[in-house]
Symmetry: C2
C-alpha cells in the first residue's frame, strides 16, 4: 500500500459511506469539464460532499498530506478550470443542491451544486428573479457560476454573477470555514473579500453556500431579429443602440453560426446573413420607444430585414436558437471555444479581425456574441484527425487572443482562465498585475494546493 493509498483510506474512513469515490471507473467522470483538456490527470479520489463539513474534512485532509484539490460543480466549465490534477483530490459539490428563498429579504440561499435554472425556478415561485443566465443555465451550477463570475445573455442590462452575490461560505485552504457578507444589501466593513472570491475559479477557497440577491420578476420581453450582410454592420447597430437604450438582450450570430444552428435544428433562419437578436423588457409605454430606437439603429447600420414580435414564446424560439450555437458547433466537429471581449465600440473591429484570422489560418470560425457587452465567442472548428488542421486551429485561437488584447480587451469575458488560457494571461495582464495575482494566491493558499495550475502557473514552493 503506497503512502497515497493509505492516505485515501484514511479519507474514506473519515467521511460517510458513499461520499468518497476511489475506483478508476467512478473517477473517470471527475477528470474533465467541457473543455476536455487532454492534460487532465487521474485523481486519487473524489469527495462527493454532502455538507460544508465534508468539504472541510476533505480540504483539511488534503492540506495535511500536501495533496492538490480541484473543486468541481456541474463540470460544464469551458476552460479546464475543473480538470483533475494527476493524483490529486476532486471535491465535487454536485450533491449540495439545497435552495432556500427569503422573499422578504429578496435573497436565495443556495448550495453550490444547485443548477442555475433551479435557482431561477425557485425564485420565480415567489415572483422573484435571479438574472445571471449563462447559455448553459439548465446544466451549470451556481458554484461554477460564482467560480467564473459567469455572465450570460441578460447581463447586458442586468449584470454578471458578482453583482448578485451578497454572501459566501468558503472553505479555506487549511480547511477552516468562513462566512463573508450575508443578506445585507450594502456592506463595506473590511476589504472586499467577497468579491475577491467570486471569479477566483477555486484557487482561493471552495464555496459551500451563497446568498444571492433576487429582483422582481422580469416582464415578458419583446424581440427584434435583424439580418445583416456583414457582421460589422450588425456590430455597428449594437454600438449605436447602446448609446441610447438598455436592451435586455443583444446577441449576435454570424452567418456561419446561423448555418450551423440551422443544420442542427432547422427553424428557417436566413442562412445568407448575420443575425442580431435584441430584446426589450421595458414596461409598456417605454417599450415601443425602446424598440423603435433598436429598429432604427439596425436599419441605419444596413439591416436587410427586421422582424419584431411581442409574443414571448415566438421571441424565446429565437433565443433558443441562439443558445444552440455551442451545441450545434459541438455536433459539427472538434472546436476551440473563445470568450474574448472588447470595449463595445471596438466590437466591429474585433469581429472583422476574427473573420480575417479565419482566412489567414484557413480555418472555419463561427462567431456568436453577447454583443451588447462586447463579449464574443468565436468558435474555431477543426479536424482533430488532421494534425495540420489542429495546428492551424490552435494558431487561430492564439491570434484571436492577441487581437482582443490589442483592442483593449480581455482573453475571457465570462468563462474564466482555467487551464486552457493560463499561458495567455501574462500577455494580457503584464508582469506587475501577474505578480499581484500571485501574491494574493500565496496569501490565501500558501501551499498552492487549491486548484493548482488553474488561472495562475504553479510556482514551486521555494519561489513563492
Amino acid at each position: 500500500m503506497t503512502d497515497r493509498s493509505a492516505a485515501v483510506a484514511e479519507l474514506t474512513a473519515a467521511l460517510p459511506e458513499g461520499v468518497v469515490a476511489t475506483r478508476p471507473e467512478a473517477l473517470e467522470k471527475y477528470r474533465f469539464d467541457w473543455a476536455k483538456d487532454p492534460e487532465a490527470g487521474m485523481p486519487c479520489a473524489a469527495v462527493r460532499a454532502e455538507t460544508a463539513e465534508h468539504v472541510q474534512v476533505a480540504v483539511g485532509w488534503a492540506a495535511s498530506h500536501g495533496i492538490p484539490v480541484v473543486p468541481r460543480g456541474a463540470g460544464s466549465g469551458l476552460s479546464g478550470g475543473a480538470s483533475a490534477v494527476e493524483g490529486g483530490l476532486v471535491v465535487s459539490l454536485e450533491r449540495m443542491t439545497a435552495i432556500e428563498i427569503d422573499p422578504a429579504a429578496r435573497c436565495a440561499v443556495v448550495e453550490p451544486g444547485a443548477f442555475n435554472a433551479d435557482v431561477k425556478k425557485a425564485a420565480g415561485e415567489h415572483g422573484l428573479w435571479y438574472p445571471p443566465d449563462p447559455s448553459s443555465f439548465e446544466i451549470c451550477s451556481i458554484g461554477g457560476n460564482i467560480a467564473t463570475n459567469a455572465g450570460g445573455l441578460c447581463c447586458v442590462k442586468y449584470g454578471v454573477t458578482t453583482d448578485y452575490v451578497l454572501g459566501l461560505d468558503v472553505v479555506l485552504a487549511d480547511g477552516r470555514l468562513v462566512t463573508l457578507g450575508g443578506k445585507r444589501i450594502k456592506d463595506v466593513a473590511g476589504l472586499s473579500l467577497l468579491k475577491l472570491f467570486v471569479g477566483s475559479e477555486g484557487t482561493l477557497g471552495i464555496v459551500t453556500r451563497a446568498t444571492l440577491r433576487l429582483v422582481p420578476a422580469q416582464l415578458a420581453p419583446s424581440t427584434l431579429v435583424a439580418t445583416f450582410d456583414t457582421v460589422r454592420g450588425a456590430a455597428d447597430a449594437v454600438v449605436a443602440m447602446g448609446r441610447v437604450v438598455r436592451a435586455s438582450m443583444v446577441e449576435l450570430m454570424d452567418r456561419p453560426t446561423v448555418n450551423q444552428v440551422e443544420d442542427f435544428a432547422p427553424m428557417g433562419l436566413d442562412r445568407d446573413r448575420a443575425l442580431l437578436l435584441v430584446q426589450s423588457d421595458a414596461p409598456e409605454g417605454a417599450r415601443e420607444q425602446e424598440m423603435a430606437v433598436i429598429e432604427k439603429s439596425c436599419v441605419e447600420a444596413g439591416s436587410v430585414d427586421v422582424f419584431v414580435t411581442h409574443d414571448p414564446a415566438e421571441g424565446e424560439s429565437f433565443v433558443r436558437a441562439r443558445r444552440l450555437a455551442f451545441p450545434a458547433a459541438e455536433a459539427a466537429g472538434s472546436l476551440l471555444l473563445e470568450d474574448v471581449g472588447v470595449p463595445v465600440p471596438q466590437l466591429p473591429d474585433l469581429v472583422a479581425r476574427v473573420e480575417q484570422i479565419g482566412v489567414e489560418r484557413a480555418v472555419d470560425i463561427v462567431c456568436v456574441a453577447h454583443a451588447g457587452d462586447g463579449n464574443t465567442h468565436p468558435i474555431v472548428m477543426y479536424d482533430a484527425a488532421d494534425a495540420d488542421s489542429t495546428r492551424r486551429a490552435r494558431a487561430a485561437f492564439e491570434d484571436i487572443l492577441t487581437a482582443a488584447i490589442a483592442l483593449g480587451g480581455t482573453i475571457t469575458g465570462e468563462h474564466g482562465v482555467g487551464r486552457l488560457k493560463r499561458d495567455a494571461l501574462p500577455a494580457m495582464l503584464g508582469p506587475h498585475v501577474m505578480e499581484l495575482n500571485q501574491r494574493i494566491k500565496t496569501a490565501l493558499d500558501p501551499d498552492g494546493l487549491l486548484n493548482p495550475g488553474a488561472v495562475l502557473p504553479v510556482i514551486p514552493a521555494g519561489q513563492r
Copy 2:
C-alpha cells in the same frame, strides 16, 4: 536638521514647485476629514499630486524612508479614513480632477479628485448618467467614493460604486503603477483585483484614475411622501414595497430628523411624524402601477398621510430636505454618525432598537436611512462640553454597532471603517475573516505604510 526633515527636503526637490506643502499652517487642512478624529496627527508633508507620476514619486519616497502615507480626496469622509498620521505623508488627489466621457463605450475616465457631481454633470452632457450619489455628492470626490465603495440614495435600484468601476490605475505600496480592467464591460481574466481595491480605503494602493460605467440618463422621477406615527410603520412599508417593485429611492427620516431639518431650513414638513420619501423612475405606463404599489404599501403599514407629486422640481425639494439631515444635525450640536445596515426585513427591528438605545443611554438619536437597502444613519447627538453626555453618546454608538451585528447586519454600509470603527470590526467579522483581511493587507503592503490604522489595526513588523 532631523532625518525626517532632510527626507522631506528631498521629496520637495523631487517634485515641481508648489506640489509639496510643509508649513504647519498649510498642513492643518490635510489633518482631518469630516469625522474630525481628535487623534489625527500632524503630517510631515502633503503632496498635492497633479499626475499619477507625482503619486508614484511620493509613495516611492515614503517606501524608501519607511514613512506612512495617508491618501486623501475631498476630505469629506465620515469615518476618519483620511485622518493624518503623526509624522506621515498625506497624498492629496484634490488637483487631479480631469474627466473624459467616452459616449460610445458609455464610460467616464476620471481622475480621483473629480467631484462626484462633476462626473454626473459631464456624463449628462452626453445624455448619460453616473448613478452612485452619496448625500455629499456635490463635495465628495470619486477617489473617496471608490475608497469607501460609496452608496447613496439611488443605490436601492442602481447599486453602489463598485458596480460602476470598470477600471482602475493604482499606485502600489512600492510606487509601481498598475492598470486593472478598462473599458470592457465583462472581464474575468485573473483574480478580481479591481473589486478588491474598491472599498479598500487606501490601505492597499492609491487610485490615480478610474474608468466608470455610465448608463442612459434616468427619467425624471415621481415622488411619494408618506408620514407615519412610528418609525416601525415606515420601515414595515419599505419591506412590503420591496417585495414587489424596485423604487429608485426609498429614504426614511424619523421624527427627530424631520424636526432638525425643519429647524435648519423650514419647508413645512410634518414635525409630528416620521417621513418616508419614495421615488419611482419607471417609464410612463409602468410608473402609475409602481406608484400604486408604493402607496398601497404605505397605507397598509399605517401611513397617516400620503402625498404624491409628478413634478420633478417639487420631488427634488423633498430630496434636498433629506440631504440636509446631516448638515442639520451638524448645526444642532456635536454628533456621532452611524452607518449601520441590516437585511431589509430586519430594518423595523433595527430602527426600534435604535430608539430604545436613545432612551436607555439618555441621548438624543436622530435617524435617517437609505431604508430600501436596510442602511441606516442614526446620529447620536451630545454636548461635547459635558463629559457625561459624551460618555453616554459613545456608549450609545457602541450599542448601535452591537445591535446591527446581532441583527445580521454590518457596522458600515457605505461610509467605510476608517479609524473610527476599526476597533468594532473584529466583533463583526470574527477572528478568521480578520486574519484573511490582514493577510491580503500584508500581501499588498508588506511594510504596512499605506493608510496605517485605517480599517485594520497596525500590526508590528515582527508579527506580520
